[in-house]
Symmetry: C2
Subunit: 206 residues, 2 copies
């Protein structure tokens, strides 16, 4: 009832600044925005990166279809307007995680350049680091992998507006990093992402 | 170029489980949902709690009007539908933060019991701890504090649908904690929140 916990801690009335927070958590946040075709390997790389960072003691959190589509964005469909809103909301949430000093890793096809650019702007306006990561592979390779059987369904006309088949994928023109997953192993991709984070002063190489 | 970083770390293909994540970050997440009238002291207490937790080495992040209203929820107005969607989205984002092992602290009037109950259900379904915290004070006290001059405007009819004046505040009936801020200091309120977190095994008393 009268346990005295942390009574020696004082606070100020105003918000915690970004610098204060970084000092207290001992890390800096950023958004790594993985974009690419279905089957390009976004999720595989994102899963491996998240685990690697967590094991290095760096807080990281992944936003993907599993925790977004059935939650925050469950009231969105596949109209052009809803697709843009889908990416906007994910961008806003990633920005909040990055602001909290977490390394947010998003894993969504996000095929339209305008939507990705909008998310980049949201981060720039807030002074939060944002890195567009193009997880690339030829369509033929992605279609051969077809981990969820979606290309087969799209070719059969069972899915309409599928990226790469009857809807465009607009390749990034200013991605901070490209990961050609038809040439790189998962380990090599993770390595390149870690190098990016070290180079930008977001994590420590040691 | 060929810096070798963390090459000794291995990963598995599947998602990080909640238990694994808790083991790696060394903490457990939860949502503390602060609800109460405008001027009840929600934000003051939330700001103090966030700082206290961060200084204790516990990752915490606050969701409030400043980082939500102009970001994720900037496309929402004040219709009944939009108000419900506002709270739903905040609930979904808090759940994600709590899932990441962060102590998410939300600070919104959230006047309707149905909306708060819905957020509670979202957390229960996901197995994520949720605590409703009723930051209470008599309307007369909140109105006298009137930190943003909003009650004055509402009384003058310049703001319509203002909670407590011409829109109801539905008091929580099953809040895990009530903080009567007309009787408790900020320090005492923070203390009670820390006790709740210790009692529920979410943070360490030491």
């Amino acid at each position: 009832m009268s346990k005295q916990i942390a009574t020696n801690i004082t606070w100020h009335d105003s918000d915690v600044t970004a610098e204060e927070r970084q000092g207290l958590t001992g890390q800096k946040g950023a958004t790594l925005w993985m974009t690419g075709l279905s089957g390009s390997g976004k999720s595989t790389v994102a899963v491996a990166l998240e685990q690697t960072l967590l094991k290095m003691g760096v807080n990281s959190y992944r936003l993907d279809g599993d925790n977004i589509r059935h939650g925050l964005n469950k009231n969105l469909g596949f109209s052009a307007e809803d697709r843009a809103e889908n990416i906007r909301r994910i961008g806003e949430v990633a920005k909040l995680f990055a602001d909290s000093t977490c390394i947010a890793v998003t894993s969504f096809i996000s095929p339209y350049a305008a939507d990705r650019d909008h998310v980049r702007e949201l981060h720039e306006e807030a002074g939060v680091p944002f890195f567009e990561v193009y997880v690339s592979c030829p369509l033929s390779v992605a279609e051969e992998r077809d981990p969820k059987g979606l290309y087969k369904k799209a070719r059969a006309g069972e899915i309409k507006g599928f990226t790469g088949i009857d809807d465009p994928y607009e390749e990034p023109t200013r991605a901070e990093l490209e990961l050609p997953t038809d040439k790189l192993s998962v380990a090599e991709s993770v390595q390149k992402l870690l190098e990016l984070l070290v180079d930008r002063g977001l994590i420590d190489a040691s």
